[in-house]
Symmetry: C2
Subunit: 336 residues, 2 copies
Amino acid sequence: MGQQRPTLETVARAADVSRQTVSNVLHAPHLVRPATRERVEAVIAQTGYRPVKAAQTLRTRRSHLIAMGIPNPGEGGGELLDRFLHALTEQAQQRGYRILLFTAGDDTAEIASYDSLLSEYDLDAFVLTSTHTADSRTAWLTRHRVPFVTFGRPWGGVARHSWVDVDGACGVTAATEHLIGAGHQRIAFLGWPEGSGAGDDRRAGWEQACQAAGLPVSGLSSQVEEGLAPGRQACAALLDSARPPTAFMCVSDSIALGAWTELTARGLVPGTDAAVIGFDDSAAAAVIGLTSLAQPVAAVAGACLDALQKLLASSGGRPRHDRLLLEPRLVLRSSA
Amino acid sequence: MGQQRPTLETVARAADVSRQTVSNVLHAPHLVRPATRERVEAVIAQTGYRPVKAAQTLRTRRSHLIAMGIPNPGEGGGELLDRFLHALTEQAQQRGYRILLFTAGDDTAEIASYDSLLSEYDLDAFVLTSTHTADSRTAWLTRHRVPFVTFGRPWGGVARHSWVDVDGACGVTAATEHLIGAGHQRIAFLGWPEGSGAGDDRRAGWEQACQAAGLPVSGLSSQVEEGLAPGRQACAALLDSARPPTAFMCVSDSIALGAWTELTARGLVPGTDAAVIGFDDSAAAAVIGLTSLAQPVAAVAGACLDALQKLLASSGGRPRHDRLLLEPRLVLRSSA
DNA sequence: ACGCTCAATTTGAACGCTCAAATTAGCCGC
DNA sequence: GCGGCTAATTTGAGCGTTCAAATTGAGCGT
């Protein structure tokens, strides 16, 4: 017969103390006399005792579980989100939390998920990604007093919650200034259609850098859908225009890859004949040598957890919300 | 004061029955008289009662939590694993399970994670991916009698556990036959260095198809590292050889992308001047029109959960293990 | 030597659920 | 109308933990 898993009671008897003292050794050591503490700790080590989370959760209503929704593949997220998820998992682990996954379709479905998750798993908190204008999810969570943090600013709304985001405008400004420093006079911006918070933000960063340097922007700003093909077309159109640009600042790596493809197809060498910069520092960027802006996912994940722990600690009182804006890093490669 | 969350007791009193009857309505309805059942169900619906998982877990030792390790980014997995993770999350959700994430470095670290996860969260089971030869993880889990299933065959070892995998050989054979049907006489295979289970398996599929059709294989088989650049080089080398191939069957989309890049760089049109087929049906493949073998991730996820549920149901007795091999699907695009 | 305080430890109850065993109700045959 | 049977429901206990309150013990001033 394999021996039963040790419980508080087991340990307590072996160390000749009460259950509660063992519990205190683990959670409130200052209440226990050093001599007793050491004795108990020895027994814990020897028996390999580990508390049963279910029992703790039942009693304390804290599960140390954080839920995160993952969007349908192809739709949102992609590589960046996966890196974020990984960083979040790793750092949560270090802090004694775990990440519980759930799938998120549209906002309505996601909210329905919150409901069942909350009632079934006593979740401590949520992490949301890909925030957008008029995000009904944040409203729901706030109303139900569920602690949460978003990776992404509450575009268009007022921030009544904690969030962490990457300062796209600032990053694009820095990248554009790098292009200006390299002597470029006509710098194009390949961005998404107006209306997406992050996209508009990044475009603003390009515009600001150009205007500050007295460079033109009119006729140099494209609005294209996400993806390689649209990026390629936009690049081609600009190259065929009366006064073609010499550099392409792109809102994403996919679009930058499109520009890169078009350039090489014309026999032009990216970085020599024309510059290209992307956004997100994807694996593909590294492979082909595309200069790109890297989002500090690990720092974002850490900041998200900081914010959550702050919220969880101050439960009850009116919590103060963190708003944190981190800067992306320009990763220089051959394309610019 | 917001009302307390309803418990079994609350519902029981409101429906004028005992706790246990309410519990039975939920878990063993056949034991309850229809009239009673309806009455209880009405109260449940009205109060919005939901069982507290922690209490159930404490009592039943079943958490309905399945853990899955995610490899360090860039290292293992990539896009395929993300799609699998998504499918797994979605289908687990439908069956009343949730996926708990943890990071996995090397096997030793992963095993350490198992230990703490098991003792802290009362996990029901594990899902492992990227199995390799001499996998110490499966041995550990078997020894500790933890239910688990692997996505990937136990390469080189004897299967003492449940697994689900995709029949790479069979898929590559089908793809190669497609090329043969299109009239190709010299079909190259760009594969990984010998020793990786999946890689060798896929190469064998190509060899078999060629030999069955009386086509040559010698001098047509390259062994290259994963990645676009190595694939491109290998393609170039073969094109420059005395008797260049007219088709490239590739072990992965990355390598196929390399071949595709080399072809276009030489002014050759993939699909017209030479054929290319990849493996995994990545997003990039869809974008550039690369024919590729798609792994049925959703089916794999479903099969993994089937296997796990079978294991969990038959706990105690000597469990029979499932071994399931699914066929990939050839997605035809312009490149072949 | 007495009560008083503070530190260290113990005790009983409770968290919400399900298991096993006990109870009650309904029905049949003789 | 009474033992015997099955179906439906209830009761009591316990899962392993932590909270709140109770208890013990030591130290100290008077």
